[in-house]
């Protein structure tokens, strides 16, 4: 079974609308990372959350980590065409930090004009 579940798998949103992507784990999220990937390109770091209840924002994107540190959400306000792409959550599930991240399968976001 997938250790990190992302939902939805794909999302089509009209330009200007808000949207939310979720990332859920059965294990404690010692660190939760959100990345954006444009088709055929590398990963762009968006935000990292570590503390339960933490919330970070950058421009129109807000990420939250729940108090139990098992679920994170990424919220985009007033979506724009530039937000289109694949959003990936990655997690440090071991707490050690060195042995890489576990990733969800990604959410494909399409913005309709």
């Amino acid at each position: 079974s997938q250790e990190l579940e992302q939902s939805p798998q794909s999302l089509i949103v009209q330009e200007g609308k808000n949207l939310t992507i979720n990332c859920t784990s059965s294990k404690t999220l010692y660190g939760l990372y959100w990345y954006k990937q444009k088709y055929g390109e590398g990963l762009i770091f968006l935000m990292m959350l570590q503390k339960g209840g933490e919330e970070k924002s950058h421009e129109k994107i807000t990420a939250k980590l729940d108090e139990k540190k098992q679920q994170s959400s990424l919220h985009i306000t007033a979506s724009q065409p530039s937000h289109a792409g694949i959003y990936l959550c990655g997690a440090d599930l071991s707490g050690g930090g060195a042995d890489g991240l576990t990733f969800g399968k990604g959410t494909h976001l399409i913005i309709q004009p």
Binding site: L4, Q6, G31, Y33, Y35, G40, E41, G42, L43, F45, M48, L88, G90, G97, A98, D99, G100, L101, T102, F103, G104, K105, G106
Partner: protein
């Protein structure tokens, strides 16, 4: 800073051939990683290294080998390529002492084995 660089960008291999995917970073990061991304899937960790001379297996190491002779370079070797190794390969590096412990990713190498 160039960040994390990967070569080649694309490669087609025949079954049974070997090749080395190159990865270099100029940020003096101790930690480096190799991931593969299959269509519709997230990234899976192949190998990682916490410093020169130290490497360890990740989730999917079979069919691959790595070495880390310098801090900057972390090549991934494919021996006897198989169709199951068709994927996009990403190298990443991080600084565990940095404020965010962010993993910086290279642009990827798209490999097809036929």
């Amino acid at each position: 800073n160039a960040g994390v660089t990967q070569t080649p960008k694309f490669r087609i291999l025949k079954i049974g051939q070997s090749m080395t995917l190159q990865c270099a970073q100029d940020m003096n990061h101790n930690y480096m990683y190799w991931y593969r991304q299959d269509p519709g899937m997230g990234l899976k960790l192949i190998y990682y290294s916490v410093g020169a001379g130290i490497t360890d297996k990740g989730e999917v190491p079979n069919g691959y080998n790595v070495s880390r002779s310098t801090t900057e370079d972390f090549p991934l070797r494919l021996e006897l390529a198989a169709p199951s190794q068709t994927s996009v390969y990403f190298c990443a590096s991080s600084n565990p002492l940095g404020p965010l412990y962010e993993q910086y990713f290279g642009p990827g190498t798209r490999l097809t084995v036929t």
